[in-house]
């Protein structure tokens, strides 16, 4: 069999003529060996999955769609840029406010705030108002201590400055408040996701900005846990898909990543390339 030194572009022209695209049907034999091989490829058996298999897979897909449920909204690239920009701006504003409040000598309500623990800020404000003003008639008792203990919920009284979107790692968790980039965030205590949030989680928060004392507080209206899938059952039970292998997921949780990690399955993925190295 002799192989003529064909021009690739001449070849595709002849192939389009002899094996027209998007048209089924037999192709007649050709003397050109390259076209003849292409013709032979068209004669390879066309595989067809039997309808029973197609239907069976379809049923599995429908189940998977129902089990996985409606996905949480994810941020676009633009959204992420916007968040980074917002975060930087808020950090700048925080720093500015900090400087302004901290350097005002007449402001007696401005309490010294430890920089050791970011959670101290809002808590300290509440604590100070109860304990710093001793009254002669006040009997030191457990009741004062009890009243001093601040609830985890923060209620910033000032009018909201605006809305803020922030995304970053959780640095501190204290009840339903968390700290992200040194910004105090009050999470919705009724959100079933709230108790499952841990230090180190990447969190996306949208909410209103308020100021408590000299501290910016974000009242979260939208909270999204990024990178960790969290499954919540109808009864409010929670399973985080980054649980260790000795903590198996409950039956209702799909827990694909746990199963992939601990049972050797395949984790869901995207961006799989079609490389040349699979043979």
């Amino acid at each position: 069999m002799t192989i003529p030194p064909d021009d690739p572009f001449d070849l595709i022209g002849r192939l389009d003529e002899l094996i027209p695209p998007n048209q089924a049907g037999a192709v007649s034999q050709n003397n050109d060996p390259l076209i003849e091989i292409a013709r032979r490829i068209t004669e390879l058996p066309r595989l067809t999955l039997p309808e029973s298999s197609v239907a069976s897979i379809e049923a599995r897909l429908r189940d998977a769609a129902l089990t996985l449920g409606t996905p949480r909204p994810r941020l676009s690239r633009w959204g992420r840029r916007h968040i980074l920009l917002s975060t930087a701006t808020v950090m700048l504003v925080t720093a500015l406010l900090w400087v302004i409040f901290d350097t005002d000598p007449d402001d007696n309500t401005n309490l010294p705030i430890s920089t050791d623990t970011p959670t101290l800020t809002a808590t300290a404000t509440v604590t100070a108002s109860s304990t710093v003003t001793p009254t002669p008639t006040f009997t030191p008792s457990l009741t004062s201590t009890a009243s001093v203990t601040p609830p985890p919920t923060i209620t910033p009284t000032p009018a909201p400055v605006g809305t803020l979107v922030i995304e970053g790692p959780v640095e501190v968790v204290d009840g339903t408040t968390v700290v992200i980039y040194d910004i105090l965030v009050q999470l919705d205590p009724h959100d079933p996701l709230t108790p499952s949030i841990r230090v180190g989680d990447l969190l996306h928060v949208e909410g209103e900005i308020g100021v408590v004392g000299n501290r910016i507080v974000v009242l979260a209206t939208v909270t999204v846990l990024i990178e960790v899938e969290v499954y919540i059952s109808d009864s409010g039970e929670i399973f985080r898909d980054d649980a260790p292998c000795d903590t198996p997921p409950p039956a209702w949780a799909p827990a694909y990543r746990w199963r992939a990690r601990c049972e050797g399955g395949q984790p869901p993925s995207e961006g799989m390339g079609m490389g040349d190295n699979d043979d």
Partner: protein
């Protein structure tokens, strides 16, 4: 398939609406199964991997971002990864296949022995090509896509497709020509 219909289905499938997922699946299941079956000579595995491709689709669709390439291209990439994983896990290389166990539009019984031998030779020769070369030949001559569609699906230019296709066909011609000279009994064949 009209783009509008596909994009409407995609929107529904992104929200994991079972009907939209099922309809989208029905649109592409046979071509994806053919693509996998073209590489793996085991009907059960073809069915399993086809299911796996579409399960991945359901899981990953919310993260799918249209790039301008057809949606089908994304499915082919998932399928390619599945095939690669399969061979990686099984530590073996693609083999020639007649797809005996899978239904085909052409009934193998109709082929005579020589014809089947030719098919076997061709399939063996195809395993010597790169994955990209095989994918191009598959899309153009099995799926009967145009060169433009093939280029679009693979994110390449028509020029690149033309060159790769030309090289692949020449390589096949060389392999098959060599086989025929090395084993004349194959070309002589029973008739």
């Amino acid at each position: 398939m009209a783009t509008n219909t596909t994009s409407t289905l995609l929107e529904g499938a992104r929200r994991r609406e079972p009907d939209a997922v099922a309809e989208l699946y029905r649109l592409y299941v046979q071509s994806i199964a053919r693509y996998i079956g073209y590489r793996i000579p085991d009907a059960t595995v073809v069915e399993d991997l086809t299911a796996e491709v579409f399960l991945r689709m359901v899981e990953a669709l919310p993260r799918y971002r249209p790039t301008g390439a057809p949606f089908e291209a994304w499915l082919y990439r998932i399928a390619a990864a599945q095939v690669a994983n399969y061979y990686r896990h099984h530590q073996r290389h693609p083999q020639a296949s007649l797809h005996e166990a899978i239904g085909s539009e052409s009934t193998p019984v109709e082929f005579n022995v020589q014809k089947q031998q030719e098919i076997h030779e061709l399939q063996s020769a195809l395993t010597n090509l790169s994955d990209e070369q095989r994918t191009i030949l598959f899309l153009r001559f099995v799926e009967r896509k145009s060169h433009q569609e093939t280029a679009h699906l693979l994110g390449k230019t028509v020029e690149s497709i033309a060159t790769t296709q030309h090289r692949a066909l020449k390589q096949l011609a060389k392999i098959l020509g060599a086989e025929k000279t090395e084993s004349p009994s194959l070309s002589g064949g029973a008739s």
